[in-house]
Symmetry: C2
Subunit: 370 residues, 2 copies
Amino acid sequence: MFKLISRDNNARVGVLTTAHGEIQTPCFMPVGTQATVKTLSTQDLLDANIQIVLCNAYHLYLRPGVEIIKQAGGLHKFMNWNKPILTDSGGYQIFSLADLMKVKEEGVSFQSHLDGAKHFLSPEDVIKLQADFGSDIIMPLDECIPYPSEKDRARQAMELTVRWAKRSKDAFKAHSPELTAHGYLLFGIVQGSTYPDLRVECAKRLIEIDFDGYALGGISVGEPTDLMYEIIEKTIEHLPQDKPRYLMGVGTPLDMVEAVSRGVDMFDCVVPTRNGRNGTAFTWKGKLNIRGASFAKDFAPIDENCQCFTCQNHTRAYIRHLFNTDEILGLRLVSLHNLFFYSEFMVKLRKSVAQAKTGEFEKAISEYYE
Amino acid sequence: MFKLISRDNNARVGVLTTAHGEIQTPCFMPVGTQATVKTLSTQDLLDANIQIVLCNAYHLYLRPGVEIIKQAGGLHKFMNWNKPILTDSGGYQIFSLADLMKVKEEGVSFQSHLDGAKHFLSPEDVIKLQADFGSDIIMPLDECIPYPSEKDRARQAMELTVRWAKRSKDAFKAHSPELTAHGYLLFGIVQGSTYPDLRVECAKRLIEIDFDGYALGGISVGEPTDLMYEIIEKTIEHLPQDKPRYLMGVGTPLDMVEAVSRGVDMFDCVVPTRNGRNGTAFTWKGKLNIRGASFAKDFAPIDENCQCFTCQNHTRAYIRHLFNTDEILGLRLVSLHNLFFYSEFMVKLRKSVAQAKTGEFEKAISEYYE
């Protein structure tokens, strides 16, 4: 269930209720592909005020496999995380990582990128998989095509995505009332590449099927920023106000505030954690790479005003030393800081929307981020 | 200052007072070579009940260098660890890691193993270095020779070690009263390879110089276990009761209990952390390697009775999955468990000694460890 709290033009503040609790939106979901957000414990995630984690059905299907996760009592128990989990269907990974991938009407056959073993997954399989995981938010299998793609190809993939979405909804309903009664949610994924008319058509057809939320897939895959914003705008115009909108794979601070001002509610991205492992820290005055020689004798924290564990306990000079000597603790300290920053960012963004000051927040962010 | 609390034959329980607080002995010091115990934060070390950390003067001299640590306000502030620190002089590392190493009476010249830069360190330099770090326990530069070594070579190295020890003590005193008045301690290092008479002679000559504690160096470097125990016994016989004895680079659970029963009070070793990063966990029923296929569906903690963060929060199946997927969190979880186990091990060992049951504890450990 999604409850809209306030609006500032197209920007929204809301609360999404899931089987494992409420999520304040707009929200950011860190990526825990393999049932772990890289370098961090679930206690670290709580310390960073993370509300919901994204895991990947394709990766977890291959390792450790659904049987082990089921026997553990579900994904939450397996990874010891009691707040909401969204699982990506793995469509994107199958299309980008797997070998000898073959799309048929029935589903997709592929070889594991790990050991070459042959697999076949139908849209129904992918729903069952995530239901077995106990994911709070389930994503259906979709066909992901590269950017750029010809319009004919994009239409073909969109049409298949819609047919698979219908089958996914039916499979999800077949699990009812166990799933829906307990607040488990199924989102639809809008595809259509860079063609606004295909996006709009896809959105309308998904709305007819009726999902608990709508994701925008295949965005931020290399297209120009203006085109990305245009697709978001034109698609969201046709999405219902009473359902959350999730922009997959985005983003940077500026992309997120721009998307929120266009009506997006949810994000996931590897940016804060991948950057963290690379020594790049996010601050309210832009990014800084802690490996820089200028930090060698800098005994201030990454961000003077930050209340995160890293900034409360360690200096730039020490963290630089950890990166300089290839010590794993460094990766963790900057990843933790970045997730804390992303949570703070979302708190301030929600406050800005509630106070009808989204534009001012956007302006402040664009001073330091591009 | 070292206070003996109780004895069980040669085994001792005591309290060593340092500038940063008391240490209950026998104690284990995890290795934080580069001002970080690999994969762990200093908060993790507190959670694992660690009393004192060992850092390495040679490594810290090269990176980040003494100036940065001084400017940070000392090593404790640099790494955010407020309990005692012992720094190894780096003698062992200079003799094993550095290139083009040349020993002269004056000191040792070498090239950095990192960038080939030329360096020279005298025994006085090494004391000043550690004094600048603010180390609670300072170790003098010694000449470390390989095992096996001819007796002539061993005598030569022992003699030089003694002459350097005298110069180190003088350098340490030159810093007084700043250092000694604040509880900073200087240990002597007994060398002499596998020759008991050389060890005894070295011990006696170091005692004449008078140190705050006595370390046994160049042990556990490949010699047979019986010979190791013999050297420990014959050396310790000549060491004063009112000073702590530190067996460098040891050890495994069994080696530690055997050494304690021979009068050793302090240990450092990479075993718990290196094994942790390799997936090997210590338990009261021996070691287990969490990567084993038998743990794939094992939803018990590493050790059912363990109160550590890892065992309170995560299953064997999950930790195995982390190792299986090369996720960094796995290294940390097992390292943390192992240090907690080592702390518990020392608590039980101290209790056994206090209750005059060291032999029983030794027997219990030898059932599961060799």
